[in-house]
């Protein structure tokens, strides 16, 4: 029994740790197709659904992410150049969706045997629904944006993702260029307090909750307890400067897609490099 257990764990451990390594290449191919629109945590699920519904390629497209929908619309609207028409095209497409969600929520309760599939669907559709409710006004903007990206995406589709990019996506969830854009923006907003001691730990970690447009709904200092410790007065000053920087930078330059990936972000402000150098 124990031997078996050990054997299974021994076998499953490398398997589990290895699994994500195996998967991303496959998924990343998908990622290329849909560019930055999928998010990694869904990847294993997506893989399953890919296998199951391999025949239904269209369905896969709808599973990937709401932005895809926009893309779909966009391809249709490309023909008609008038802006009003786009919105008209948009609405009929979006309207049936809430009905679907109702159906699917109902089926969720019935079909408990296949929770994975239902879960993703419900999530995605409800997300879309949210988008539909909130974003009717911005849809046009999204379409325009997507239009601009279209040509670039087509090029991307044909190209392989470099290893660097893949690694970066795995580790941070942001591509190098996305991360650089965000960093460059915050570098400009952060006024480092100059009176800090040189030989102390000058790292402040801040967790952000973001809206899709990059504005901030919540900020949280992760080492909050340190602020009130005696002799750590400088830390409070540093933390406040970091919060000021984030607020000053609002809305943050976040990627235009993949909101699920970065709706929560952690920024590590470290002043040592600047003060020592």
């Amino acid at each position: 029994m124990h031997v078996l257990l050990i054997f299974i764990t021994a076998m499953s451990l490398p398997f589990l740790t290895k699994k994500p390594l195996d998967i991303p290449p496959i998924v990343s191919v998908e990622l290329i197709q849909i560019a930055e629109k999928t998010n990694i945590p869904y990847a294993p699920k997506a893989k399953k659904t890919i296998e199951k519904a391999k025949k239904k390629e269209k369905k896969l497209v709808s599973e990937q992410a709401p932005p895809k929908k926009v893309k779909k619309n966009k391809t249709k609207t490309v023909v008609s150049t008038e802006k009003n028409k786009k919105i008209e095209n948009e609405k009929p497409k979006a309207v049936p969706l809430p009905e679907k969600t109702v159906k699917k929520i109902e089926t969720k309760e019935e079909n408990k045997q296949n929770p994975d599939k239902v879960d993703t669907k419900v999530k995605q559709v409800s997300e879309f629904e949210k988008k539909e409710l909130v974003d009717t006004n911005t849809l046009q903007g999204l379409i325009d944006k997507a239009k601009e990206q279209e040509s670039a995406e087509i090029v991307k589709k044909n190209n392989q993702v470099t290893q660097d990019q893949v690694r970066n996506i795995e580790n941070t969830g942001l591509t190098l260029s996305e991360e650089d854009a965000l960093k460059a923006q915050i570098f400009g907003c952060w006024s480092i307090p100059l009176g800090l001691p040189y030989n102390e730990n000058l790292l402040v970690r801040i967790k952000l909750e973001l809206k899709p447009d990059g504005s901030i709904t919540k900020t949280e200092i992760l080492d909050h307890a340190r602020m009130n410790k005696p002799g750590q007065g400088f830390y409070k000053v540093l933390a406040e400067s970091a919060l000021r920087a984030v607020k000053l930078c609002q809305p943050l330059r976040v990627p235009s897609t993949g909101y699920e990936r970065w709706k929560e972000l952690q920024l590590n402000f470290d002043a040592r490099e600047m003060l020592e150098g």
Partner: protein
């Protein structure tokens, strides 16, 4: 069995699930923080009463100017132009419209109110974080009206401390040697002033030459060098009472005095028979103790803030260099090894650095190094400058600089300058006369 298997999966699975995206921010700008110092509001009745006493039309504005100048000279803040302010001072003090202040790019806002109550000046001020739209600090002071400049300095210190995390240095005074007359016949007097150059007072008449004045830790006493029976001797002066006395009864000349961090001892050099050694004298029992004993010239001693070590300069290696030793004179260690001659070492009040004057190839430098001699940084270079003295927070150095005279002996001047540790923020301190040998007091409001 299956339970255990699931447990293992449960434990391991979250590792592969959602990881919070982290972005490292390792750079920022070192520009001074833009802030707005709104003039302190004052009601008409108080304004008229205070105008009569202080002969200042609007004391609220005057105090805010003191605060603004202090913050500006620190180099860490950039006070914004008052003409750009959109909100009136009295309303801003009650509840600032943060949008108005962020519109002019202010990140912090200082508002306040002045009252004249029962022959006293009452000043309250608030510091606001404009971007977070919250109050950071609110304080009130009551004092005699003539103390209004000091109130401005204390407010500046509080703001500085709240925004930088270290103590300020504005409510302090500087003692220096005021110089007048031609170079060959200089009249030198002891003088004292606020750190911003105001409230200047002369402490001696100028009959005798005075040099190297230094404050004690409470800033009430001064030790300095003057001449007694044509012999340079170390003196003590009580600022409040004006009483002077010669320190110790040495057979030769004593010079380069400085107080110990507890204020109980004076450390100085005593020269005899062509060599000079370092001595201390206990001010209570007048006991004299010899610290160094070497056939070289040991001088310019300065204690570490904890009183356990002493830094000094000595020519025992052939050239004048900086050394440190324990306060009993043991464990002497040379710490300066660069090219040139090093002198006037002064231990920072923070304890981490030693400031010095360096002479190399005909140039004079003011610099700092760590207490083990590493990390030497030269902050400023000039034709002639020396005698650095630390601000009480260990962030700024004050020193004096002389200009070159032309062939006819004209054009000579000596002025006080300050420079911060970055080396970028160098400022001239305005004095009534020429000035040399400055020494910074500790914070008076502590």
């Amino acid at each position: 069995m299956t339970k255990k298997f699931f447990l293992i999966i449960l434990i391991l699975f979250p590792l592969n699930a959602f990881a919070l995206i982290e972005v490292d921010i390792t750079r920022g700008n070192l520009d001074p923080l833009p802030l707005a110092v709104s003039p302190l509001s004052i009601d008409e009745k108080s304004r008229l009463s205070l105008e009569e006493i202080l002969l200042k039309e609007n004391i609220g504005s005057e105090i805010s100017v003191v605060v603004e100048n202090n913050l500006k000279t620190s180099g860490l803040f950039n006070p914004l132009d008052k003409n750009a302010f959109l909100q009136a001072p009295d309303i801003a003090h009650l509840k600032p419209r943060f949008e108005d202040w962020s519109l002019i790019k202010a990140q912090a806002l200082i508002t306040g109110k002045v009252n004249y109550v029962e022959d006293k000046l009452r000043v309250e001020f608030r510091l606001w974080d404009v971007l977070a739209a919250k109050e950071l600090m609110a304080l009130a002071f009551t004092t005699v009206p003539t103390n209004w400049r000091r109130v401005g300095h204390i407010i500046s210190d509080k703001i500085y401390e709240r925004l930088t995390g270290e103590k300020g240095y504005f409510d302090t005074r500087i003692i220096y040697v005021a110089e007048e007359g031609p170079k060959t016949q200089r009249i030198k007097k002891l003088a004292i002033m606020d750190q911003d150059g105001f409230n200047n007072k002369f402490l001696t008449l100028g009959n005798e030459l005075v040099l190297t004045p230094r404050f004690n830790p409470t800033s009430q006493m001064i030790t300095y060098l003057s001449y007694f029976k044509n012999m340079p001797r170390v003196y003590l002066l009580d600022i409040e009472t004006g009483t002077q006395e010669v320190v110790g009864d040495f057979p030769g000349m004593t010079f380069a005095p400085r107080f110990s961090p507890d204020g109980k001892k004076i450390i100085m050099s005593f020269a005899n028979d062509g060599k000079s050694d370092i001595y201390t004298m206990d001010l209570e029992n007048r006991l004299v103790e010899r610290i160094t004993n070497h056939p070289s010239i040991d001088t310019s001693p300065s204690y570490s803030p904890d009183g356990k070590f002493i830094t000094f300069n000595s020519d025992r290696s052939g050239y004048q260099q900086i050394y440190i030793m324990r306060s009993d004179g043991s464990d002497v260690k040379r710490i300066s090894f660069g090219n040139g001659i090093y002198g006037t070492p002064v231990w920072s009040p923070r304890g981490d650095l030693i400031a010095f004057t360096k002479m190399h190839k005909g140039k004079f430098y003011i610099g700092v190094m760590r207490i083990d001699g590493s990390g030497e940084r030269l902050l400023t270079e000039n034709y002639y400058q020396e005698a650095p003295s630390w601000s009480p927070n260990g962030r700024v150095l004050i020193f004096y600089r002389e200009t070159k005279t032309d062939s006819s002996g004209k054009g000579f001047s000596a002025k006080l300058w300050s420079i911060d540790l970055t080396g970028y923020n160098e400022r001239l301190i305005t004095t009534l006369t020429d000035a040399s040998d400055p020494s910074w007091s500790s914070l008076l409001s502590n």
